[in-house]
């Protein structure tokens, strides 16, 4: 009896916590499809806000994905070899470099953005293009890629595997492709997942770096909250959900499958 009471108590508590987290999301989503938020759901259900958001912000949403995947490409191309080099070389210098790469996590995004603006703000073409945002995102997400790949290198003896492949005649590039990357795959996938989601949701840095022509999803969201009806902003949130959830699920499934293989 006492046992069941404890169970019931815990169950209710869990439900309450879940509700606390989920009700705002549900409210926001429902607001995005109601005719008038102030009159509530009785005012009717509509897709007009979503259409409106799409018309206004389709470019922004597209740019977000371009930036996210470009960030992923850069962190993959630079981060995975960097992690490999740091791991194989080792020593004090490698640790210092690793700390430097990690530093942007501790520095507020605004400060990084400010530094970028101070340094490169004068290069008009660069400043105005989306590549400027890309630079900020790469700085911000690089530690996540490097760290998760390094973590995998720590669990397998990558140095000996590399030497093993070398003893069989494989060139450094061949070793990297055939042995290092496939064995680092779980870390690369985990890193990729983080890089893409962080880039899609990044606000601090991006808010400082963007121009009216280079807005990403979260900037557009802030924009719509600030200047438009609540229903539009909510519809925007809904679109954000719809875009990012399938992406997350897909990457997670992919990672799971890779791990089981």
């Amino acid at each position: 009896m006492r046992y069941r009471l404890i169970f019931a108590g815990q169950f209710v508590f869990t439900l309450a916590v879940a509700a606390f987290l989920m009700v705002p999301a549900a409210l926001s989503i429902s607001a995005g499809v109601t005719v008038s938020y102030f009159r509530g759901i009785r005012s009717g259900v509509t897709l007009q806000w979503i259409v409106q958001v799409w018309e206004l912000y389709a470019g922004t949403i597209l740019l977000s994905f371009v930036v996210a995947f470009a960030t992923l490409a850069v962190t993959l191309l630079a981060g995975v070899p960097a992690a490999y080099a740091l791991h194989v070389r080792g020593g004090r210098l490698a640790r210092v470099v690793e700390e430097l790469i990690t530093l942007p996590l501790a520095i507020p995004g605004l400060a990084i953005a400010l530094a970028l603006l101070l340094t490169y703000g004068g290069f008009g073409d660069f400043r105005r293009s989306w590549l400027f945002i890309l630079a900020g995102h790469v700085i911000f997400t690089m530690p996540f890629m490097v760290r998760s790949v390094l973590a995998v290198f720590g669990t397998i003896d990558i140095k000996t595997l590399d030497e093993g492949a070398a003893s069989l005649g494989a060139s450094p590039w061949r070793r990297f492709r055939d042995v290092i990357v496939p064995n680092a795959m779980p870390g690369i996938l985990a890193g990729s997942l983080m890089v893409v989601t962080l880039s899609l949701g990044e606000f601090n840095l991006t808010w400082m770096l963007h121009t009216p022509l280079t807005k990403t999803l979260p900037i557009g969201l802030a924009d719509s909250y600030a200047s438009m009806r609540l229903e539009v902003a909510s519809a925007y949130t809904l679109i954000f959900f719809i875009m990012i959830i399938p992406l997350l699920v897909a990457m997670q499934l992919f990672a799971d499958r890779e791990q089981r293989k």
Partner: protein, 353 residues
């Protein structure tokens, strides 16, 4: 000895030392020649520089300035391992977890651009040679330690290397398996007849596998010789004690005899020393009735180990003597016995070491 009709390359290591970046001196400048087809064992306790020597020969480490490595007389010092055409078996095997057994064995051939069909034939050949038929499609983490060892060996041999390098290949295995694989490995190496350099800290492995053994200590070569030479005529105390069991006796010498508390042991004629460090192997000491030998002592303990019995005898010299007696000899602890040692069995070692 397979030296005469062997193949593979000869190896010459000239004045190779190794100081690591942190200042550790892993290997003092050493020179070593390995004949074509020979199996050379680098033997020593951990930290003696044997693995560093192997890695220099492999091309995984660069020797300090002035050192050179020659394969068949050609200087390969600056060539990285991937250009040296050596086969290597690592202590941890370094098998690729992302590839099947067959792909592991065939990797070196794939890198060399050997066509698929030819590769498959060579893989089949090695699978048969190393006794791992049926495992070709397994993943590495589905193999036992012994199977991994065989795959690592097959992979290293598949590329028909000029030189085969093995870094403690049996150390990761349990004792019974190690003994069995040691015999197998020996037969395989003899059959291949390839120049082989084998690193181990296990003297039994070194004895069984080596044409010659290089005993190493603290980054230097203590002695190079055939297993017999190393065993019967160790050059110093370290080698004597590291290889097999040895009684080391320090004692004054009087007209050609070691003067011990348990009697006077004759030496080979012509020895003119005041003090000597002598080595006597336990199996060269014969236990006889008390009073019927120049040396005497009291049996402290008897350990019966099957093929022989090991006695510890006190009162003969300052330290207790270890004696291996035939298993049929009837002895009891506390018993007074005589000890007979042929003068030729007393090996004198350098005084300071």
């Amino acid at each position: 000895m397979s030296t005469a009709n062997g193949h593979g390359a000869s190896v010459s290591v000239q004045a190779c030392g190794k100081t690591f970046a942190d200042g550790t001196r892993a290997l003092e400048s050493a020179t070593l020649d390995i004949a074509r087809g020979e199996t050379l064992v680098l033997l020593g306790p951990s930290g003696c520089g044997k693995t560093t020597m192997l890695r220099i020969i492999a091309g995984l480490e660069l020797p300090d300035e002035g050192g050179t490595v020659l394969f068949d007389g050609k200087d390969v010092t600056s060539e990285p391992i991937e250009q040296r055409n050596v086969g290597m078996v690592f202590q941890s095997y370094a098998l690729f977890p992302n590839m099947s057994v067959a792909d592991n064995i065939g990797y070196g051939l794939k890198v060399r651009g050997v066509p698929r069909q030819e590769r498959a034939a060579r893989i089949a050949e090695l699978v048969a040679l190393t006794n791992i038929a049926g495992l070709e499609n397994r993943r590495i983490d589905q193999l036992s330690g012994g199977q991994r060892q065989r795959v690592a060996l097959a992979r290293a041999v598949a590329i028909r290397p000029r030189i085969l390098l093995l870094d403690e290949p049996l150390t990761a295995l349990d004792a019974a398996l190690r003994d069995r694989l040691r015999g197998e490995l020996n037969r395989l190496l003899r059959a291949l007849g390839i120049t082989t350099i084998y690193v181990t800290h296990d003297q039994a492995e070194a004895m069984e596998l080596g044409d010659r053994i290089v005993v190493m200590r603290k980054g230097t070569i203590a002695q190079i010789g055939t297993p017999r030479e190393i065993y019967f005529t160790p050059r110093n105390r370290f080698v004597a004690e590291f290889i097999g069991a040895a009684n080391i006796i320090e004692s004054p010498v009087e007209d050609g005899h070691l003067v011990l508390s348990g009697g006077r042991q004759p030496l080979r004629s012509g020895i003119n020393l005041a003090v000597a460090v002598a080595m006597i192997r336990p199996e060269t000491i014969q236990v006889v009735e008390a009073g019927r030998a120049p040396l005497s002592g009291t049996i402290d303990s008897v350990s019966f180990v099957g093929d022989r019995q090991r006695l510890v005898i006190s009162g003969t010299s300052r330290k207790p003597l270890t004696v291996d007696a035939p298993n049929a000899v009837q002895v009891r602890p506390g018993e007074e016995v005589g000890l007979l040692v042929a003068p030729e069995s007393v090996r004198l070692l350098p005084l300071e070491d």
